[in-house]
Symmetry: C2
Subunit: 214 residues, 2 copies
């Protein structure tokens, strides 16, 4: 069986995938199904094979923060300590490779695996720090522009698809769905992007998008 890893995945992850392939399990999750839960013990590690995953954190009054989105080739649930600090849910129907941490630990001597995990953690930290800047110091419009740009850069094609709904975008960016919607309309009005349906778009003026995203 061959996995369709996204081009963004570093070669290092392949070694890990091989190990997980041997030790692990393939699992299917339906859209919105819970993969693991906040405050739950973290003894499994996951790689996305197909579909996409979001991690979320809930405040007691229902406010929600989306931590990150994960695509084919990405490691999920590694970034935490012994207890998951975020929940993970399937953004769409998806397939994951699952392996016990203890099983991975027996491979701790395997340098390629070590490095793959290390690399994944480092990238996770970098992404989180980038996210921090967006949440702390950007306007609603800039937030949405940054988000579209990230997606566009990740996919690379002409037509870019949004695997998540407006609520997920809003909770990722620290906004409301209404504001996200308004900003999308505004960006379209300025001919920066163009939507075909609410789940597909293309970039019309790349320079303008970059400038808005800073």
């Amino acid at each position: 069986m061959t996995l369709a890893y996204a081009p963004s995945s570093p070669a290092a992850t392949t070694a890990l995938a091989d190990v997980m392939e041997r030790l692990g399990l393939r699992m299917n999750f339906a859209k919105d199904e819970e993969i693991f839960c906040q405050d739950e013990e973290a003894d499994l590690t996951y790689i996305v094979v197909t579909g996409a995953v979001r991690t979320t954190r809930l405040l007691s009054d229902g406010r929600r923060q989306v931590g990150s989105f994960y695509y084919p080739g990405d490691l999920v649930g590694l970034e935490t300590g012994d207890i998951h600090r975020f929940s993970a849910e399937a953004l769409s129907d998806c397939v994951l490779l699952v392996v016990k941490r203890s099983a991975l630990k027996t491979f701790a001597g395997d340098e390629a695996v070590d490095r793959a995990i290390w690399e994944a953690t480092r990238r996770e930290l970098e992404r989180t720090q980038e996210h921090l800047l967006v949440l702390g110091r950007k306007t609603a419009c800039e937030k949405v522009a940054s988000f579209l740009m990230d997606l566009a850069e990740r996919e690379g094609g002409e037509q870019i698809s949004l695997p998540m709904g407006r609520q997920d975008m809003a909770d990722y960016l620290g906004l409301t769905i209404e504001t996200v919607s308004r900003m999308l309309t505004q960006l379209q009005g300025a001919s920066v992007v163009e939507f075909e349906g609410c789940r597909r778009f293309r970039v019309k003026r790349w320079d303008a998008l970059e400038r808005l995203a800073e």
Copy 2:
């Protein structure tokens, strides 16, 4: 020479400190002096010995995000790849242990050093994720309350000192100095905390502070 590590520092860091003590250099930095710079090559790693450090990120128009604050025992400048994604500056006059990464790499086989670096990175990621939640989904009042609570928990004593000014707090929390100031006044008015001068405070009602911080 003995280092006065904060209680929050895990024992693992001590092994790393020992190595850095042997391989590295002690350096003094004056308040507001730059330790390393955004977009600069990252070939050094630092441990705070005395004083405190902030990491910052600048947008082209001058908006600033403070990434984190570092206290005695904390590792700085490890979280990045080959290029620093944040600048680091001395919050106060301070002493740091500095070592070349290449020198550390020759100790890569040393498990204690490995683990210390790994632990530091993991904690950094957790702190950043917590920060994310604060920036994305909390009100100004909750942000300030969370911040004071973090400080209070870290220090543990009755009297807690703020090593940073209002602008640094504001840039850490994604607010303006005026809003930070207003929230502090408000928290004082509600008898949640009490300030003696603008750099020292004590918690009067822990439960209220906890509730505000969520």
